[in-house]
């Protein structure tokens, strides 16, 4: 039996985002169980534990599931991730924080048990800038970019990167913090209206996203010059603003929509069999797909671990090896019924962060779907590597970790 805990948040302030993710995660694992009889014949036992996006409940969930042989954690909240990184490392259980958590965990030499592929926040910042460079013929000089961000550790993540990039590409950067929860953003948007930045980037979360998009519409800010990070790019964020949100862009490191072979399999083995998770109304949404994607990576890593260690009954440390040697190729994705669903990448001991690729999606309010408008864009590794090196080195020093790759 392979234990995959799912620390979900179907309640609390961010429930609307937690539900689709948890559903996607659960449905994919059910699919593997129902269709393939598990991974390599070992059934998956998914234990769902409700955190409500609350760190303390996260601890409780971690402690209650870890003794049952958990293989990998998806903590799903910045707070829980930070707080589990040392704990889980000490307990020898890997963490996969997919597109969130601690960015410098990309450095596997320091963070032996933490994986954050396929892309992280700094990648996100860089990719957004790259996209803008593309749109402007490679030149952003004398342009202004405003960053509107959730005034928390998460929201502040891209600042450093953007500052570096603004030096490199000569654009002006304006910072606009929004305090939690972010229901009132008049000041920020009046400022944007006054200063008319050429582009607005957003690192928002929860209600902040919906309000920002509505306010942008209210001041008639051109939506296609407004780009959100992947946690500001779900249907939930754009729908409340209705038609006005049309043209809003967001980054994403996997595909939206349900146009994939795996969906047929899900229909056949899971939903029509009445085994779907939740209310079953989340299929094909961005966050559902993200949950699905997370589950798929976990399953593939487990498969890899079985392969490496030659046993079907893997434990957490074997799972770690599987995660570290995971390689997602186009062929493999196609085989899984997920052609072009996510970027290709190859993890390694040094690189726990994947290829750092994401694509830009754009909201089409008419059809109510996200359109993928670019290929997977590669982030500016040159700038980022140095930053990651620096931050992880600081962490290593603080916690007496020897950088190594075994």
């Amino acid at each position: 039996e392979l234990v995959f805990p799912s620390l979900s948040y179907r309640t609390g302030p961010y429930a609307a985002n937690g539900i689709p993710f948890a559903d996607g995660y659960a449905d994919y694992l059910t699919l593997v169980n129902e269709r393939d009889g598990g991974i390599g014949g070992e059934k998956i036992n998914m234990i769902e534990c409700e955190t409500g996006y609350n760190t303390e409940k996260g601890v409780e969930c971690y402690e209650s599931t870890k003794s049952q042989g958990a293989l990998v954690y998806q903590p799903l909240s910045t707070g829980i991730t930070y707080q589990l990184i040392p704990k889980a490392t000490a307990d020898g259980i890997p963490i996969h924080s997919l597109g969130y958590g601690r960015t410098s965990a990309k450095n596997g030499k320091v963070f032996s048990h933490v994986f954050n592929y396929p892309a992280n926040y700094w990648d996100g910042a860089s990719i957004a800038v790259k996209h803008l460079l593309d749109e402007n013929g490679g030149d952003l000089s004398s342009k202004t970019i405003a960053l509107i961000y959730h005034n928390s550790a998460y929201g502040k993540e891209p600042i450093r990167t953007l500052e570096e990039l603004s030096e490199k590409h000569n654009f002006d950067l304006t910072l606009l913090p929004v305090d939690h929860p972010g229901q009132e953003q008049k000041s920020q948007w009046l400022q944007i209206r006054r200063e008319k930045p050429d582009y607005v980037l957003m690192w928002g979360w929860g209600v902040m996203n919906q309000v920002a998009i509505q306010e942008a519409a209210n001041i008639r800010y051109p939506m296609d010059q407004f780009i959100g990070i992947w946690w500001s790019g779900s249907e939930n964020d754009v729908k409340p603003a209705g038609k006005a949100a049309d043209g809003y862009k967001a980054l994403n490191f996997h595909a939206p929509g349900d146009d994939f072979a795996v969906y047929d399999a899900l229909e056949e083995h899971v939903w029509s069999a009445g085994k779907g998770a939740g209310a079953g109304d989340q299929k094909g949404t961005v966050l559902y797909n993200r949950g699905l994607y997370a589950a798929m990576l976990a399953v593939e890593a487990a498969r890899k671990a079985q392969e490496i260690h030659g046993t079907m009954q893997i434990d957490a440390s074997m799972m770690r090896d599987g995660l570290e040697q995971l390689s997602m190729t186009e062929a493999k994705m196609e085989e899984l019924g997920l052609k072009d669903f996510g970027p290709t990448f190859e993890a390694s001991c040094e690189n726990h962060g994947g290829s750092g690729k994401a694509a830009v999606n754009q909201w089409d309010a008419e059809s109510g779907t996200w359109e993928v408008i670019t290929d997977y864009i590669q982030s500016d590794q040159e700038v980022l590597d140095a930053l990651i090196e620096e931050d992880s080195a600081a962490y290593a020093a603080e916690n007496n970790i020897e950088q190594s790759c075994s």
Partner: protein, 358 residues
């Protein structure tokens, strides 16, 4: 009769001032203390410590602190989260600046620093009263959280803005950091809790406590009979913040190990601790324990019953959990408005009369 408390046969005023005047009670409490100190540490595992005991012990300290301010001195405060943050950030700065000094000392110092901050924010209480004061203390809550988020010095300029506790030991045993032993952290926090409760009890049974209670019950009359409201209120703020600071320090350093201020010490924390003392019983040390136990254990218990036992989907279980906790709060109130501690007292009074109805 199951429970007897016959007559008042004390022969000295010392004996009369005892914490547990009834022998049965006294024995019970000692038994619990011995259990907590000598038995529990041996049967603990990670789950019990991290999911139940640590939060309970740490919240009980915070609840004691707030109970001194709100329950004994009558100043409702919603700044607890902010003050806990002061404790946490103080201990973090101290731990990283003076790694060679014992963590126990750092925790106490963090408490003292918080006491100072508490006094500062307590100043308006001289003018502002009741719910106005409660809302005014929110200013402390929001300002402090903003400050710790804003000024990088507080989080040692780390890129993430989070603080994480480096490994520290006491007598050779790890107290903070990832590789601690369940019993060690448990005992560490337990000692702080027992000491806090003891100090709180001493303060509240003496003249300081009476000053506080006088201010709580009728501040004008108290002033006219000779209580200086300034010192009484500020000392309550100081002592209260001292405990709250300690609990914040433990919360960060021992329990979570890594926190982000907005998330860990947000307004919810303030409300949570306030709920604990109101449910447990204002102006009661036992109440602080009972309230903390209720608010920590009830959700865990319900979750285990509903999800683990009855197999409900987690979200429905979580919703139901909210409804049940809410309904229980209301039920307790309707039964006994003065908290669990009073409920306990009334039960004892009834037991004393048992089997007669009154």
């Amino acid at each position: 009769m199951l429970y007897r408390e016959a007559g008042d046969f004390k022969t000295s005023y010392e004996a009369d001032g005892q914490t547990f005047p009834i022998r049965l009670d006294r024995r019970g409490y000692y038994a619990i203390l011995v259990m907590a100190l000598a038995v529990v540490p041996f049967v603990l595992n990670d789950y019990w410590v991290n999911a139940v005991f640590l939060p309970f012990l740490i919240y009980a300290i915070a609840a004691l602190g707030l109970n001194i301010l709100t329950g004994y001195c009558g100043q409702v405060s919603l700044g607890t989260g902010g003050f806990m943050a002061v404790g946490a950030y103080s201990v973090y700065k101290l731990m990283t600046a003076f790694p060679e000094i014992s963590i126990a000392i750092h925790v106490v110092l963090a408490g003292l620093i918080t006491a100072l901050v508490g006094v500062l924010f307590g100043l308006p209480s001289l003018r502002i009263k009741g719910f106005y004061l409660a809302v005014a203390t929110l200013a402390a809550q929001f300002f402090l959280v903003w400050l710790f988020n804003r000024v990088p010095w507080f989080y040692n300029y780390s890129a993430s803005g989070q603080i994480s506790a480096p490994e520290r030991t006491l007598l050779g045993y790890r107290i903070t950091g990832p590789e601690t032993q369940a019993w060690a952290v448990y005992l560490f926090c337990l000692v702080f809790l027992v000491a806090s409760a003891w100090i709180a009890r001493n303060l509240t049974r003496g003249s300081v406590g009476r000053k506080w209670m006088a201010i709580r019950d009728m501040d004008i009359a108290a002033e006219i009979i000779g209580v200086n409201p300034l010192t009484a209120k500020l000392s309550a703020f100081a002592v209260s913040s001292f405990f709250v600071g300690i609990s914040g320090a433990l919360f960060f350093a021992v329990y979570l190990g890594a926190v982000e201020v907005g998330e860990a010490f947000g307004i919810n924390k303030s409300f949570l601790v306030l709920f604990m003392i109101i449910i447990g019983g204002l102006g009661s040390i036992f109440g602080s324990f009972a309230g903390a136990a209720f608010m920590v254990l009830m959700p865990v218990f319900l979750k285990n019953v509903l999800v683990g036992g009855l197999g409900w989907p987690t979200d429905l279980a979580a919703h139901l959990e909210f409804m049940i906790v809410g309904a229980l709060i209301i039920l307790f109130l309707v039964l006994e408005p003065h908290g669990l501690a009073q409920l306990w007292r009334m039960t004892k009074e009834k037991l004393r009369l048992w089997p007669f109805p009154h």
